[in-house]
């Protein structure tokens, strides 16, 4: 069993990737502008609702309840979607999901598909799998188009091209659009209006002729089999409405029990993500609808691929499973001081920022350098928890995962309970802790050590050698006191011996 593929090639650990990113001044400026703009707007949108805290508690409770009975709700969902004329497929991992989708597209005889932004399909590397099968997948969200044309990777959950400014986008459109279809208009300026118009013309050709679409979903309603997609541009509506075949790839954690439950998330998700009262377009569909697609209103075939790919492993961890409550609003990215400086690419996954730091190592396991480093990509300041509309205690999970990595312990991988060995990188830390325990358990040795240290204090280096060097790269080593507290106490407060 290979590691769970999360749509990213092998990556260096977070500190190395972040070190590169923080040197890129344009990137930092783009990120700072974007995160601060949306942060302030979001605070205003949330303040409009007097019951925000209650909506947050209700959203958390609905998600926890669903996860607690996930088997039951998935079966109910499957029955409802099937009854409405859809077909449900189950995919245990990325390979299986890619195989299912590739076969479904092949069966239509088509060689191209249009896609509405879907993190689940990025997670499993669907575009690459389709390309290998000779099928072209066109991203249609403007930001996703920028990423795809730029041979780039997404760096934000909601605004995947947040790291690009308008001049860079114009250059990408000019250089790449012709290779994928309709070329960019000439001349092309860098006004966002002009750039959006270029994308409109380029993609409209594809929408009008598309026979197959691939989507994700924000929510799936178990009770009714209803799928819900929130978006702004209309590319979602194009993909969900015009093609004959619609294939939705959705993580199993996206199910909610009842249609009524949407009243919570339709209030909290838009305000948390784009800071709007409501996003411009929301599409809901249930199978093929009452007419079974016979009246030309929507696809005539609907396939739902339910994706596990590490989610059940995450569910097995009592502390970590709360990450599955995530509704992908990206509010945690926009308030994170680490994300703001390091950018999304440093996280090495389609899920960047604080949520990515707890989700990716759980979905993929901590076998790689990047995944083992992600729980440390945080200052534990807690801002992500404060803004989370489903109250995921991200700092709690980060600390929990750090402990797992440093000490090892039981985890579930591909459904099997295994015991994780302590991570190699933490040998020095563990040795230091063992030495500390030895000293603290033997007061005589501790006293002797302290006196020796005090006498040699002028020889103490400003920076630590060896494994401790990284720590003193950004910190001063504390100076050693002339005498230990224990000696001072003994002299001041006790009878002289």
């Amino acid at each position: 069993m290979t590691g769970t593929y999360l749509g990213m090639p092998a990556f260096p650990a977070f500190p190395a990737a972040a070190r590169e990113a923080v040197r890129d001044e344009a990137l930092r400026a783009n990120l700072r502008h974007a995160t601060h703009t949306i942060r302030d707007k979001r605070a205003r949108a949330v303040a409009e609702l007097a019951d925000w805290d209650r909506l947050r508690a209700a959203g958390k409770a609905v998600k926890d309840h669903t996860l607690r009975h996930l088997d039951r709700y998935l079966l109910q969902l499957e029955a409802a979607v099937t009854a409405a004329g859809g077909t449900v497929h189950w995919a245990a991992d990325a390979d299986e999901a890619n195989r299912i989708v590739t076969e479904l597209v092949r069966a239509t005889g088509e060689r191209e598909v249009v896609k509405v932004k879907s993190m689940a399909t990025q997670e499993i590397g669907l575009n690459e799998a389709l390309e290998a099968a000779g099928i072209a997948a066109y991203e249609t969200d403007l930001a996703e188009l920028i990423v795809q044309l730029g041979h780039d990777r997404p760096s934000h959950i909601l605004v995947p091209a947040i790291h690009r400014n308008r001049a860079e986008i114009r250059d990408i459109f000019r250089a790449e659009m012709a290779g994928w279809g309709r070329p960019a208009p000439e001349p092309l300026g860098d006004d966002p209006r002009e750039l959006a118009e270029a994308a409109r013309l380029h993609l409209r050709e594809k929408f009008l002729r598309a026979k197959v679409a691939v989507s994700g979903a924000n929510f799936m309603v178990a009770e009714t089999g209803t799928m819900v997609v929130l978006e702004s541009e209309g590319n979602g509506r194009m993909c969900l409405t015009l093609p004959e075949t619609l294939i939705s790839v959705v993580g199993i954690e996206k199910v909610v029990p009842t249609f009524r439950d949407l009243e919570i998330f339709l209030q909290t998700l838009p305000r948390s993500s784009t800071a709007e009262r409501m996003n411009p377009y929301t599409t809901m569909w249930t199978g093929l609808g009452p007419s079974r697609g016979a009246d030309g209103d929507g696809p005539t075939a609907f396939h739902l691929v339910l994706l596990d790919n590490g989610r059940t492993d995450t569910l097995a961890d009592e502390t970590g499973r709360q990450a599955l409550r995530c509704i992908r609003c990206s509010a945690c990215l926009n308030v994170c001081p680490v994300y703001e400086r390091a950018g999304g690419h440093a996280y090495g996954s389609v899920y960047p920022g604080p949520i990515g730091a707890i989700l990716s190592p759980q979905l993929r396991g901590t076998g790689s350098a990047i995944d083992a480093s992600l729980p440390y990509a945080s200052t534990l300041c807690g801002a992500c928890y404060e803004v989370c509309p489903v109250a995921i205690d991200i700092p709690e999970v980060l600390v929990h995962l750090r402990e797992r990595i440093a000490q090892g312990g039981p985890v579930t991988r591909a459904g099997v309970r295994v015991t994780l060995r302590p991570a190699d990188g933490h040998t020095a830390e563990r040795a230091a802790m063992r030495a500390a325990r030895l000293l603290l358990d033997h007061p005589g040795a501790l006293r002797a050590g302290e006196r020796l240290l005090a006498r040699a204090r002028r020889l103490a280096p400003r920076r630590l050698p060896g494994a401790g060097r990284a720590w003193t790269d950004s910190r001063e080593l504390p100076t050693v006191a002339a005498q230990s507290f224990r000696d001072w106490w003994a002299r001041e407060r006790s009878d002289p011996r």
Binding site: D51, A196, S232, G234, R277, M284, G298
Partner: protein
Amino acid sequence: MSSKDRILGRIRRALDDAVPAAEIPRDYLPVHGARTPAERVDLLAAHLAEYRALVHRTQEEALPALLARLLEARGARSVLVPPGLPPHWLPAGGPTRVPDRAASTPYELDRVDSVVTGCALAVAETGTIVLDGGPGQGRRRITLIPDHHICVVRVPDQVVDSVPQVLPLLDPARPLTWISGPSATSDIELDRVEGVHGPRTLDVVLVGTQ
């Protein structure tokens, strides 16, 4: 073992030590504030306008004249008309009427200038109109492909205050489209630009009854 059984088995094993889930608190507000019907309509108009929909108010008798003016202002030569749209809404001798047909291709719809529809309901607190394919609304795609959408909302009958109020009134089996302002993107430096793939112009006509 099928993948379905494998996934369900993993879920059940993952949860065998899980504590029972707590009750779901529903103490959030069903509506944010008390409003008269008129205030509700005003709020809808304000919120629609804030997200760059063009809001117009009129009475039933004056509707055809207003629609004629809106179509003319756009230079519309053709207008899509869903089958259940009250025929007297549209002015006689206006742009060519194109009926909403299952057989129309997306390319044919792309050549139409404007579309006029009614709606199922509207939500004041969020500035949202909801289409459910009912009479006067037509297929989902006709309000998507043309660049200009005129949506007629009967006020105050079709307006509710809040999201919790609107959901019980909708049938999830129908295809539902919620529209809050025209198509927009903020993907370039978070500058909001209206009109990417959906209609660039959304005229919302609030029709009162006297």
